[in-house]
Symmetry: C2
Subunit: 275 residues, 2 copies
């Protein structure tokens, strides 16, 4: 039998329905990467929507990692697609909304504004790309401009966008994506964006370690979300290339290991652990 996109999408739905209940007691958030769902076309988006529904039923928050960016009505449409508020003659026809969305900074303030408006309407949040975790990130993000770098200007903009949106916990609904592979950057950008929750990809498979990310946490051990993707999702693959039978338990163990590693690194840095 030849595989089809709908059949693969059904398998993906089943996989996530089995994994999510094992992750829910361990982690607060899941961050689906839209690209991998979009590869399967419409059936893939059904799988994404199922994941969002299930995760929220289990009390998990969902960050839609879609890295969307555009202007005007198009940015507004992306914001509504992911955070809710798609209305047709007064009826809400939105896909299942996520709690937060990752967005691109290149358009500047008026490109981000429709996403900010969506946050204000829905209670959702944003994570704006500041410093990414790839080697070429420096080509544009580290360009010097005056006495600063482009990423510093972006970080200041993120702080400005977040300023009117600081909640009683001290953090804003406008967070920042900061690659965990650059520990010095993490510290410097934290001082430019004191109210932003940092979303730190690059942990695990991309080479970031627990000690690399502790600078993103504040003195209370809060303010940072460390993302592990491949190291948890593909935990069923052993180092020798063989696969374990009980993939749910492999995922659960990998997630537990990761949270312990971060708690240990926070303790080494003299910060309390908030989880």
């Amino acid at each position: 039998m030849r595989p089809t996109a709908p059949a693969i999408a059904r398998a993906v739905i089943e996989l996530h329905r089995r994994i999510l209940p094992r992750l829910a007691p361990i982690v607060p958030i899941v961050k689906p990467q839209l690209a991998f769902f979009e590869q399967l076309g419409a059936p893939g988006i059904e799988a994404y929507e199922d994941l969002v529904r299930r995760a929220r039923e289990l009390g998990l928050l969902v960050i839609a990692d879609a890295k969307r960016g555009d202007i005007g009505t198009t940015a507004d449409a992306y914001a509504r697609a992911f955070l809710g508020g798609v209305a047709f003659h007064g009826t809400d026809v939105s896909p299942p909304p996520a709690d937060a969305l990752t967005v691109q900074p290149y358009f500047g303030t008026d490109g981000v504004q429709p996403f900010l408006d969506a946050c204000d309407r829905t209670g959702g949040g944003l994570f704006v790309l500041a410093k990414t975790s790839n080697p070429s990130a420096s080509e544009i993000q580290d360009l010097p401009t005056g006495k600063r770098r482009v990423v510093d200007v972006v970080a200041e903009a993120i702080a400005r966008w977040g300023e009117p949106r600081v909640a009683s916990c001290g953090y804003s609904s406008v967070g920042a994506v900061v690659g965990a592979t650059q520990p010095r950057d993490v510290q410097a950008l934290r001082s430019l964006m004191p109210r932003a929750i940092f979303l730190l990809p690059g942990y695990g498979a991309q080479g970031g370690t627990a000690d690399d990310v502790v600078g993103a946490f504040d003195a209370r051990g809060r303010g940072a979300l460390v993302v592990a993707a491949r190291s948890v999702y593909f935990a069923y693959r052993r180092n020798d290339g063989s696969e374990v039978d009980d993939f749910e338990s492999a995922v659960e163990s990998a997630a537990r290991a990761m949270t312990c590693e971060i708690q240990a690194a926070l303790a080494r840095a003299g910060k309390p652990c908030s989880t």
Copy 2:
């Protein structure tokens, strides 16, 4: 009866099936804006896929205006989702591929590389964001860096990415998005990216005029794609707010008017008209 996303998506499919045959004799390309399909969730993506299939059957090229950007395997997944090459155990399960895709530059070369690889594999093309048409574009894109601006560095990168991908027509498969609202920028960026096809949004509803865009065309009257969106798509709405019954003819007339305006502006600038 309350509207539902699947019902709206079916109406969108019907609308496009009626409009596309009227546009196919007039314009070479359609540029679906993914945000508006994503608003309807999985049924919206079905409508996008139907549009791609129909447009290509009619001999139209399709630029997926998705402004995607990420790194590594995620960028690769986006590239395959839109340009083809999604394989599962040797079977291609790709959604209907577009001919080209719009992408973000913020990640730098290794973020764009998976998209370049997809072009090389499929014969597809890219349009990388250089200068956008919104007022805040200047916040990041116009930042001075040395004697240049950030957008100049991006433009040089686009030229570099396109250099090994120049076809016999003299143009590269790596194009650039250049807002038509900044005529001076259009000229300056043309000199930095002589081999890039320019995709010029902002014409019509966003305020760009035909005379603003002629600088993007070369001496042969080639090398630029002028995008009209709202002025054509919503041509059924009269200025007084009323609507015409025959929306297919309204769209057709608006598309014809736009091509005539551009041909006239090219003639005024002493450039031949290639269409």
